[in-house]
């Protein structure tokens, strides 16, 4: 009873602070908006010169594919979002498994063939204009996207060379870079807001003795910290939703999955990053040190968790390293929901990892926490 009274006392005070700090509040909203718009225009041109064809690999045939090829294929199918990188990896793939491609198109240098084991995935790529054509050689069928000019061209090309294939027609809007980068920018905003909004604020309050004043009351550290996290998380969620809605009105983003699931992810992710902020702010009363520590966490996370570009073609050790960042898991899951329509079951592993990290950060952070802190 007293617990909630004290908790809500701090929560209310913190929310008043956010609300009255109009400058920070508007910057919180404006910054991600500006970024999304800037990226939409900066990376607008999608000048692919090649025709890219997805080839659905039959189950029987796939057993013949070597272990190595399977790995490459998985990498390849996961990285369809990135035009530049795709060209590179797909070239490797086509060199390695020549036999299983569509023979009618094999002689054409400007046609890239990409193997897909998962038909659903290949068709979704086609709908999102990542592929121009999907061919299932075993069934003598191909799919084209009627809303993509490249798709019509590729279909013409195939029917000129062979009339053995039956045609199926799909439609769907293109997956642009802005679609792909949107979750990255939102996640970046979430990360900065939670890390600095929780971590830096606590250190500042420790330095100017607000925490000392609060310590001299029956308020417990847990009540105080919980209120900090909750106030920040709901602010971040509100910001993300508003930014998404505004940007969506301009760009109408690709969204294959459930919005509720996306909000759940944003919630779990922001709690996790806030807990990381608490951990960093557990002891120090030096704003300089905490800023350094926060930067030390934030910038590598920004570069290595797939905010701006996919890590699929990065060296193995980079990909392994990226697993330590909460943002990597958050973005994997968010993009799966948005572009592949993944359900709760598919993103469950990422949610478990995020919750696990949260518990770890909270446990260690609570042990280390001091009101007054080191360096008196």
């Amino acid at each position: 009873m007293m617990f909630w009274k004290r908790f809500f006392g701090v929560l209310t005070a913190r929310n008043l602070e956010f609300w009255r700090d109009k400058e920070s509040l508007s910057w919180n909203l404006l910054f991600p908006l500006v970024l999304v718009v800037a990226f939409a225009f900066l990376f607008d041109s999608d000048d692919r010169t090649l025709v890219t064809v997805g080839v659905i690999q039959e189950a029987q045939l796939s057993q013949e594919i070597s272990q190595r090829e399977q790995t490459e294929q998985r990498e390849q199918t996961e990285q369809r979002e990135q035009t530049e990188q795709r060209e590179q990896t797909e070239a490797v793939a086509s060199a390695n498994s020549q036999e299983i491609f569509v023979p009618e198109l094999a002689s054409l240098d400007f046609v890239e063939q990409v193997i897909y084991e998962d038909r659903e995935q290949a068709l979704r790529r086609l709908q999102q204009h990542q592929l121009d054509l999907v061919i299932a050689p075993g069934e003598q069928r191909y799919w084209l996207n009627e809303s993509s000019p490249g798709s019509a061209l590729a279909a013409e090309l195939l029917s000129a060379r062979s009339d053995n294939y039956a045609q199926e027609i799909l439609s769907g809007q293109a997956l642009r870079y802005v679609d792909w980068v949107l979750p990255g920018i939102l996640a970046m905003n979430l990360m900065f807001s939670c890390l600095y909004g929780v971590g830096y604020v606590i250190v500042r309050y420790r330095k100017n003795s607000v925490l000392k004043r609060l310590q001299a009351t029956p308020l417990s550290a847990f009540e105080f910290l919980l209120a900090q996290v909750v106030s920040r998380v709901w602010l971040v969620l509100a910001t993300l939703i508003i930014v998404y809605l505004i940007c969506n009105a301009i760009f109408s983003f690709v969204m294959e999955g459930s919005y509720l699931l996306l909000i759940l992810l944003a919630f779990v992710g922001s709690v996790c990053v806030s807990a990381l902020g608490l951990l960093i702010a557990a002891r120090t009363r030096s704003e300089e040190l905490s800023r350094g520590l926060l930067d030390f966490i934030a910038w590598p996370m920004l570069l290595l968790s797939g905010v701006w570009f996919s890590l699929d073609s990065s060296p193995e050790w980079v990909q392994q390293l990226a697993q330590i960042f909460p943002l990597t898991h958050l973005l994997d899951a968010a993009r799966a929901v948005m572009f592949d329509g993944a359900g709760l079951a598919e993103i469950f592993p990422q949610i478990v990892v995020l919750i696990g990290m949260t518990l770890l950060f909270l446990l260690v952070g609570a042990r280390l926490f001091r009101w007054v802190g080191d360096g008196r």
């Binding site: 009274k5 004290r6 006392g9 607000v210 310590q215 001299a216 308020l219």
Partner: protein, 301 residues
């Protein structure tokens, strides 16, 4: 120890705090009786704040014990005491009203809000951002926060440092009204007049140890007999300084002497024909006491 058979509200034995191998507070024994205003007096760096923060339960001591009503201090202690720090801040962007709301939610039984507001004179500033308060207003708000739980024991760490004389007097009035409600007050100060005005008992602290302890008047009477007599130097012109005044020293335009028997000294001066125009007779202050005890000025360094 002398007369109190009642249990002290707060007592320490061997209280010690060490920074970098130096005992900032050195084996302090204190007994603070209930219902009085107790002053910790000393220059900056004497260990006042360190001592009071250990007593408040904010700073863990390196050695020694602290007992509140005979029991060790725990987190529940904060329900029963009020604390006003020397340097403190409140969360940004909050109005006085919001700050009172915030702190009232921390306590099981907060004081009646209107009563507290009236007590601390906060009616006119309730809607003001606490960062825009004057020094005196801010101290009154902080005092209201310290009184929020209607505490038995109130800690005030240098409460009037930096205030103008008017604001200091107002604050003293508030402290007296707290005292008149039967609460125990423990305050630190480096202002002598503040200690003389407010405290029933003082402990003079220097380099982490207590030099002397008792009621201010008693201490002064113990250490200073008589009074300080000051006579303008000109009054002695063309006259030999009488033997009674031989121990006097010149300070500026005055000769001054610590006289044990004031009336005897004065009548001897008259007898030797020295004019008493411009005569000043001063009783010793706590400043003088401190100087006498330590050999250095209270506000020195």
């Amino acid at each position: 120890m002398e007369s109190t058979h009642k249990m002290p509200i707060l007592s320490t034995r061997g209280l010690t705090k060490t920074y970098d191998g130096v005992n900032v507070v050195d084996k302090l024994d204190l007994d603070i009786p209930e219902g009085i205003c107790f002053g910790l007096l000393g220059p900056n760096g004497a260990g006042k704040t360190t001592t009071i923060e250990m007593l408040e339960g904010i700073l863990p001591p390196n050695a020694g014990t602290i007992l509140y009503r005979g029991e060790p201090v725990d987190k529940h202690f904060f329900q029963k005491v009020g604390i006003q720090f020397q340097h403190t801040a409140l969360p940004d962007f909050l109005k006085v009203n919001d700050v009172l709301n915030l702190f009232s939610r921390f306590y099981d039984q907060p004081m009646n809000r209107d009563e507290l507001i009236a007590w601390c004179n906060l009616e006119d500033i309730l809607e003001r951002d606490h960062r825009k308060l004057s020094g005196g207003q801010k101290q009154r708000l902080l005092l209201a926060l310290a009184l929020m739980n209607d505490p038995d024991l109130l800690f005030l760490d240098e409460p009037t440092t930096g205030l103008d004389p008017q604001a200091r007097r107002n604050f003293w009035e508030l402290v007296r009204s707290v005292r008149s409600r039967g609460k125990t007050i423990l305050l630190t100060t480096h202002y002598m007049d503040e200690a003389e005005q407010l405290c029933d008992e003082i402990a003079v602290l220097d380099k982490g140890t207590i030099l002397t302890q008792g009621a201010p008047r008693t201490l002064l009477n113990q250490h200073f007999k008589g009074a300080l007599i000051r006579i303008p130097v000109g009054n002695f012109a063309a006259k030999a300084i009488p033997p009674e005044f031989a121990g006097a020293e010149q300070k500026g335009d005055f000769m001054q002497l610590q006289a044990t028997q004031v009336d005897a000294t004065l009548s001897e001066l008259i007898a030797s024909g020295v004019s008493l125009n411009g005569l000043q007779v001063e009783s010793a202050t706590l400043d003088d006491l401190f100087l006498k005890l330590t050999g250095h000025e209270l506000r020195g360094e």
